[in-house]
Structures are given as structure tokens and as C-alpha cells.
């Protein structure tokens, strides 16, 4: 069972929900796909870390073999190539590693070289296998690392996977949720929060994923995100109160479900609810 946790904006509580959900499972794999700023590992403090470098392929031009035909420049839909002063210039950051220019070059002047973009770290924290993607500073797209994170073989006996997504609803999020069985949308009780909830809601519907909402930082008074859920008949899985105690756990990088029985019970309830939703979903739409 793959559960993706996402939200339209940062700071709503994706990592809070992901980390605690993985903690209350008997055995789980937590995958941090927020590769620009992964912070799940701060809570899990995993041991026995194994690291693997990730690179992508970018074109390399042997200028002396180039005859200036510009086939590569006009082919590249991302405009990663320019032909200036009888030389091909490659803009690595704009390149999407499609390899088309190398295939099409009539002079065979182009080949591919590896560009190091980040790494993946894997470790364990009690019952949880923690896998973290880290994108190098200055690299434009985290998608290659996310795709690598999600295709790694899992340890035996871990069939429960929590995917902590990047914020927003862009390519990186789509890559993170595409194979998920269920999506949990985390939302804040603000107008901005509701607006961003609508964006991820549109996204998970577009992907045809079953989903439910966790309302975080709930206080007395109007909750625009809750209103959005009620108006659109969206399943509210859980409400987390705006609680200074929980804030302290977080600031101290403690996992609430490991240190407090109230939160352990709360997230166990969420896990059971989501598991039920997923089994119901497989039964009705296999």
C-alpha cells in the first residue's frame, strides 16, 4: 500500500502526518520526495545510512566534429542548446535529458555525459526504513531523483509505504503521486490554505486517485479548508488541533506518536481509516 501525503503549500504538516503515519505502522518505509528540502530524517534520525549518488545525462559536443547544421538546436523543445560563434552551447539546467540531440546529430558530434544532481540516503529508525532524496543546490529539477527514489526495491516485509511529497502541484508532485494507491491532502485553516487545497484537489482528481483530507492547525472559528471539503463532499479523515504541545514536539524534532500516547492513538486511527479506504477502493475498482 502506497500512501502519498501532499499539500498545495509548504508548512501545512505533510511531514508531520507522513512521519507519524509511518511510525504507527507495524513496519513501514518512509520516502521523502521533498528533495529540495527533505526534513523527515530530522525526526527519524536514521542509522546505518547507505548513500547513492544520482546523476542525469546531458549532451556533450565534440566541437571539431560539428558542422553547424543546427539540427540539435531546432530539435530541442526545451531550448537547452544554442549555436553561437560556430560553437554549440549546452545549457545543462534547461536540459531534460531526453537524448534527442544525440540521436539526431548527422555528424555524430554529440554524446552524453553524466551530471551529478544529488543523492539518495537510506537508513533505519526503529520500525521504519527511511529513504531520503537530496537535490544538489542550484539544480533546477528534482524529478530524476524522485523517480529514482520510487523505483528502488523495498525491503522484505514492508508493504506499507508513506510518500512525503514536495509542496505544490507541479511536475515533482505528479512524479511523487503517480503510483500511489491513496492520497492524503493536508490543509491549513486559512484562505490561502483553502486555495492551495483546491489546487492539489484538482490534481489528485485529474490523476483519478482516491483521496481524503487531514485538516491541520484547527482552531475555533471559520476554517476555509473545512468549508471547501464540506461544499465539495470531500472526506475529512482527521482534524489536528493547533496545539502548543505538538508544536514543542516538532521543534525538538520528536515524533509525536513515539512520545505521546494521545498522538499515537490519533495516527493509529488515521492509519486504520486509510487502510480501510484503500481496501474498499481495491474492492470496488480493482
Amino acid at each position: 500500500m502506497r500512501i502519498a501525503v501532499l499539500s498545495g503549500k509548504g508548512g501545512t504538516g505533510k511531514t508531520l502526518v507522513s512521519v507519524n503515519l509511518a511510525t504507527v505502522a507495524e513496519k513501514a518505509t518512509y520516502i521523502d520526495c521533498d528533495v529540495e528540502e527533505p526534513n523527515g530524517h530530522l525526526f527519524f534520525k536514521p542509522n546505518n545510512i547507505e548513500s547513492q549518488d544520482i546523476s542525469v545525462k546531458v549532451p556533450y559536443v565534440k566541437q571539431e566534429d560539428c558542422n553547424g547544421c543546427r539540427t540539435c538546436v531546432s530539435f530541442c523543445k526545451y531550448n537547452a542548446l544554442a549555436y553561437i560563434g560556430e560553437k554549440v552551447i549546452v545549457f545543462d539546467d534547461v536540459c531534460h535529458s531526453c537524448g534527442g540531440c544525440v540521436l539526431l546529430c548527422p555528424q555524430h558530434a554529440m554524446s552524453e555525459k553524466a551530471k551529478y544532481v544529488g543523492n539518495i540516503k537510506k537508513g533505519t529508525s526503529e520500525n521504519v526504513t527511511v529513504i531520503t532524496g537530496i537535490l544538489n543546490i542550484g539544480v533546477a529539477s528534482g524529478v530524476p531523483i524522485i523517480s529514482e527514489l520510487l523505483k528502488r526495491p523495498l525491503d522484505k516485509g514492508t508493504d506499507f509505504i508513506v510518500i512525503d511529497c514536495p509542496p505544490g502541484s507541479s511536475c515533482a508532485v505528479m512524479e511523487s503521486i503517480k503510483d500511489a494507491d491513496y492520497c492524503i491532502l493536508v490543509a491549513e485553516p486559512t484562505i490561502f490554505g483553502a486555495h492551495n487545497l483546491k489546487m492539489v484537489h484538482d490534481l489528485v482528481r485529474l490523476f483519478g486517485k482516491p483521496y481524503g483530507v487531514v485538516l491541520n492547525k484547527c482552531q475555533d472559528g471559520d476554517n476555509p479548508s473545512e468549508r471547501f471539503c464540506i461544499e465539495n463532499n470531500i472526506n475529512i479523515l482527521m482534524k489536528i488541533a493547533f496545539d502548543s504541545e505538538l508544536g514543542k514536539f516538532n521543534s525538538n524534532a520528536e515524533i509525536a506518536a513515539r512520545v505521546d500516547s494521545k498522538y499515537r492513538d490519533m495516527f493509529t486511527g488515521l492509519l486504520q481509516l486509510v487502510a480501510k479506504e484503500v481496501s474498499h477502493e481495491t474492492a470496488t475498482s480493482p
Partner: protein, 122 residues
């Protein structure tokens, strides 16, 4: 001398466009013959790398000086490699900028931003 600037419409009365890569048109002006040509910027609608593509077009048009309010780093690299001079616009008026260029009153564009990468105007 052939100079170019990003402009919003195909008219000498129009204003300078704030975006280099995604400007709808480039005005190419010959300071000797006083001839003006408005070139459509096909990079304006590209998904990404608009600056690179627009800069390539500027190079291919045979422009010797570019006058623009700002320029991203990828586009600037292309422009610099092609030895095209870059100047900063003084205001939104095409005529004022041409006049200032002719009077050698424009300063070179030194601040190059990191690029908006699809975020411009959003």
C-alpha cells in the same frame, strides 16, 4: 549599427517590454539607415528556455547591441558569447532609448538575474 530592444507591439510608439525572453516582438533598428524591423519572438510561447531561444534569434538577426531593461543569465551568456553589447534601457520609450544610444548615454547592463524559469509575469 543594428540595435535591438524587446517591445510590446509592432509600432515605434509602443513601449519597451519588461521581459527579454518572452517579449512578443523585437525591434531591430539600424542607426545608420534609420530603418526599423519588428521581428516576432517565437520564444515567447516556449515552455522553457525562452531566454536562450530569444538570444539565439537576436544573434541570428545580426544585431550588434541589445538594449533591454533586464536579462537572465542563460540569455546573457549567449549574448556575451556572440560579442553583442548589452545596455540598460532608461525608460519605456523606444525613441528616448534610441536617442540615448546615439548620444552614448546608455549604461551597460551589468546586473544579470538568475532567470525566472517560467515564472515571469505569473
Amino acid at each position: 549599427m543594428k540595435i535591438a530592444m524587446p517591445v510590446n507591439e509592432k509600432s515605434m510608439e509602443t513601449t519597451i517590454c519588461h521581459s527579454f525572453g518572452r517579449t512578443p516582438y523585437f525591434l531591430v533598428f539600424d542607426t545608420k539607415s534609420m530603418e526599423s524591423v519588428f521581428a516576432h519572438n517565437s520564444a515567447a510561447t516556449s515552455q522553457g528556455g525562452a531566454g536562450v531561444k530569444a538570444a539565439q534569434a537576436i544573434v541570428d538577426l545580426g544585431v550588434e547591441a541589445l538594449i533591454t531593461p533586464r536579462c537572465g543569465e542563460n540569455a546573457a551568456e549567449v549574448i556575451k558569447t556572440a560579442n553583442i553589447k548589452m545596455y540598460k534601457t532608461i525608460n519605456e520609450s523606444i525613441k528616448d532609448n534610441i536617442q540615448a544610444f546615439n548620444d552614448s548615454k546608455l549604461s551597460t547592463l551589468d546586473e544579470i538575474h538568475a532567470g525566472f524559469h517560467n515564472q515571469a509575469g505569473k
